[in-house]
């Protein structure tokens, strides 16, 4: 049991990072970004391709992260330019189209075959009660907590952070106060793109995966982000880890193993229904 739970920590940390990227983008740009994991996968595949072509590991990783940031900024730019006044629903549907295009472009650039993602972190970090905890797990968890804390502090303590919160709380009022919401939005897209590359790289580390299934990691990411209702960074991290652990336990149970990846779906359903229990009508009036 413990062994399986621990095995779920690494993906859980990855879900948490993806969830953080989702929450940030939602908070600052009013968009549920369905293309988050696809953007991350894009950077990851570039990293894998570069590393495979002999580029030093860390340089390749940096390239991948920058690529993710660039792709994310580009996708965000489409929203900024054409969907500035659209509602959350429309903006999010645009990201679904972006998810499809990212998958299509990745097919062109990287081929349709699964690709091994190299890793320097598959060694063992330490063992608890005979259960090995890998380095990737430790790095992912530490990173998720650090990012949540860092972004949380940024939001709470800096002028930049306050302005981001202002833009998210009342975009129109913020604009009327002369706050350049588009510029801030662009930065958030870039940063969340970079995060998602790290997340997807670490989740898929030392395994061979195809692009679409990495792109669909957005589902557990969404489930984790929903733990904090797209508001709380801390709960997004908790949600990611809980989801990973649940999935790990399910994967270790023989009757459930084949269905373990449905866990995010049920988590999604329960949280959404709970969160929206008071939403009788679609609009305020």
């Amino acid at each position: 049991m413990l062994e399986h739970a621990v095995a779920g920590l690494a993906p859980g940390g990855g879900y948490a990072l993806l969830a953080l990227a989702l929450v940030m983008t939602y908070q600052a740009t009013r968009t549920v970004n369905f293309a988050t994991a696809a953007t991350g996968a894009f950077g990851t595949f570039l990293f894998a391709a570069a590393a495979g072509a002999g580029v030093p590991y860390w340089l390749a990783l940096l390239l991948g992260v920058l690529c993710g940031a660039a792709v994310s900024t580009l996708l965000g730019g489409i929203l900024v330019v054409w969907f500035d006044r659209s509602d959350v629903g429309t903006r999010s549907v645009v990201t679904i189209a972006q998810l499809i295009s990212t998958i299509a472009l990745a097919g062109l650039l990287f081929g349709g075959d699964p690709r091994p993602v190299p890793s320097r972190l598959d060694g063992r970090a330490f063992a608890v009660a005979g259960t090995v905890v890998s380095q990737a797990t430790v790095v992912l968890l530490v990173l998720a907590v650090a990012v949540a804390a860092g972004v949380g502090a940024l939001f709470a303590r800096t002028l930049l952070g306050r302005r981001l919160r202002a833009v998210s709380e009342r975009p129109q009022t913020a604009e009327l106060l002369g706050i350049r919401s588009r510029r801030y939005g662009t930065w958030v897209w870039a940063v969340s793109g970079a995060f998602s590359v790290v997340a997807v790289t670490l989740i898929s580390t030392s395994s061979t995966t195809n692009f679409p299934s990495l792109a669909l990691l957005v589902v557990p990411g969404l489930a984790a982000a929903l733990f904090g209702l797209f508001q709380s960074l801390a709960w997004a991290v908790v949600g990611g880890v809980v989801l990973g652990v649940l999935q790990g336990i399910a994967a270790g149970t023989s009757q459930l193993a084949a269905y373990s990846t449905t866990a995010p779906f049920f988590a999604l359903l329960v949280i959404l229904l709970f969160a929206q229990r008071g939403q009788r009508w679609e609009d305020a009036r």
Partner: protein, 572 residues
């Protein structure tokens, strides 16, 4: 009747050509043609959900997959059931799944619903990939064994489904879907069940998608999870946005394009998925520009009359159908109704009554509590106090109140624009509408005809139609919430003239919330003024507007300050 635009003639010819071509061409083109029509069936299914009912679904392919899976299990049985039973049963399973998925949709909308349906797609994919779902070969029965025969069969199936959906869309069931997309509140206010509309939309859509899954099995003979990828659901969704699939032309065009593009891309030696880029970019373009391809090629064709408002029709109706006001219990009696939002009392112990076939004006400045009263009486806001309609106490949710004789309209007009005047009125009536009644309602709305598309009506006619819809159910009382807001002074005058005669024709009382003084004077023999949630004056409009308290409420005279009962401060 206007002639259809050139684009739709050309478009229809292209579709016919696309359907005929595979029959005169080679076996591979026949295969592609079959795939295109099967895709078109999936797009039809999405047309119901996203197009009609406005609910995004990212799991249409999952519905197809589930049906396909059930169908192959049937086919593998030792004593197979008749084919028709197999098909119907497989489709029914998808419909049931659709109904189950619709349950979260009762509370979830837009992005949240998209998230859940994507989750469904992922979960169904996982289940299908699980080892116990083996791959079974399903034989086509003799009559459909030939590829030509099967192609013709799919085309016939598509046509039959399109016709069936077209029929349903003209019926109240289908109009209710569009009404839900337009506004759930307004749907409930018409006495129509939002729950039922959502569940039927999901079940219908899933059944159609499931049927496409069965067709896929019959076409390919053997199916694997790779035939039903989660990403395909996304592509179908994008294709529907791009081309528009809420009518059969759009669905067919989208099906053809969705088959043709990947084919051309792979013939060009590129990865097939690259074709999806077309749909993604097209979808973004459609979202930004607001118009899907099919809606440009085939602009929606209601009957477009000259649009000249014919007031004489209404005058005739008034002359023929007016009856003396019935006597008896008041149409509406309100006692001590109080509405509180948080710590704020928006309506404070209001008493009101409206006699049968009487029009009463409810006036007051912004924030006086007029709209809150309407929300409370119609069941949209929680309130205390007694509401009695035609002698019967009225309680429960909006839909129930609407069915028990109290109808309302909304400040922003919420009529469904994509249906005809007649279809909308029939939905609102909730019963068979006799021809003469329909005629009277159409005359009141000043629409050129019952076959006229609501979206083609002018603003004033649209607002009148909304009121006509409220009358259509023959309620005891109708609450109108600022019906002339946003209309010009001249239009408001025409509106007033029509509305004044309406109670005698339709036999129902009207409570009219309005702050346009001229309009209230023109329509209401009696008015009641509210300020800070309380009744402060009553009488003829002249008396009410001459009342110093009312004048102070409208213009902010100092009078109100001495009133200790006024709430100190309100905060949101």
């Amino acid at each position: 009747m206007t002639r259809p635009p050139v684009s739709s003639v050309v478009g229809s010819l292209v579709l016919v050509a696309a359907l005929v071509y595979p029959l005169v061409s080679g076996a591979y083109d026949l295969f592609l043609g079959t795939s295109a029509v099967v895709s078109a069936v999936v797009l039809l299914s999405l047309g119901v959900l996203s197009g009609d009912a406005g609910m995004p679904s990212l799991c249409q392919i999952s519905f197809a997959a589930v049906s396909a899976c059930v169908f192959t299990q049937f086919a593998a049985a030792d004593h197979p059931l008749p084919l028709v039973v197999q098909v119907l049963a497989s489709t029914a399973v998808a419909a049931v799944l659709g109904a189950v998925v619709s349950l979260p949709a009762l509370r979830l909308r837009s992005v949240n619903l998209a998230v859940v349906t994507l989750g469904v797609a992922g979960a169904v994919g996982t289940v299908l990939n699980a080892p116990r779902f083996g791959q079974v070969f399903a034989d086509r029965p003799g009559i459909l064994a030939g590829d030509e025969a099967f192609y013709v069969f799919t085309v016939v199936c598509f046509a039959a489904l399109a016709a069936l959906l077209g029929f349903v869309r003209r019926r109240p069931t289908g109009v209710a879907w569009k009404s839900v997309k337009n506004s759930e509140r307004a749907t409930a206010a018409l006495g129509v069940s939002v729950v039922r509309a959502k569940v039927t939309a999901f079940a219908t859509s899933a059944a159609v998608a499931g049927f496409a899954g069965v067709l896929t099995v019959l076409q390919l003979g053997i199916v694997a999870p790779t035939n039903f990828l989660t990403t395909s659901s996304l592509v179908v969704f994008a294709a529907a946005l791009f081309i528009g699939s809420w009518r059969w032309q759009g669905a067919l065009l989208a099906g053809v394009v969705a088959t043709l593009v990947p084919e051309l891309v792979s013939r060009a030696g590129l990865p097939q998925d690259l074709g999806n880029l077309v749909f993604a970019v097209g979808a973004i373009q459609a979202l930004a520009g607001g118009v899907a391809v099919a809606d440009r090629v085939w602009p929606q064709g209601g009957r477009r009359g000259r649009g000249a408002v014919d007031a004489t029709a209404w005058d005739c109706v008034v002359a023929q159908r007016s009856v003396a006001a019935p006597t008896g219990a008041p149409a509406l009696e309100v006692r001590g109704v109080t509405v509180r939002y948080g710590g704020i009392t928006a309506v404070d112990g209001v008493d009101l009554h409206v006699d049968p076939a009487e029009v009463v004006g409810l006036v007051g400045a912004n924030g006086a509590g007029k709209s809150s009263i309407i929300d409370a009486l119609s069941g949209f806001a929680p309130a205390t106090g007694d509401v009695v309609v035609a002698g019967r106490p009225l309680t429960g949710p909006p839909q129930r109140r609407a069915r028990h004789g109290l109808r309302r309209t909304f400040q922003q007009d919420r009529v469904v624009t994509t249906v005809t005047v007649g279809q909308y009125l029939r939905l609102a009536a909730g019963r068979r509408l006799p021809a003469d009644e329909l005629e009277a309602l159409v005359a009141f709305s000043s629409a050129p005809s019952a076959g006229h598309l609501v979206g083609d009506l002018e603003g004033a006619a649209r607002r009148l139609l909304e009121v006509a819809a409220a009358f259509a159910a023959r309620p005891a009382v109708v609450l109108l919430d600022e019906p002339v807001a946003g209309l010009s002074a001249a239009e408001a005058l025409v509106f007033a003239r029509s509305l004044r005669a309406a109670p005698a024709v339709f036999g129902c009382g009207v409570l009219l919330v309005e702050h346009d003084v001229d309009f209230v004077r023109a329509v209401c023999p009696r008015a009641v003024a509210l300020d800070f949630g309380r009744v402060v004056a009553g009488g003829t409009p002249e008396e009410v507007f001459a009342d110093p308290t009312v004048r102070a409420a409208y213009m902010g005279d100092a009078v109100g300050e001495d009133n200790p009962d006024r709430p100190k401060e309100t905060s949101l």
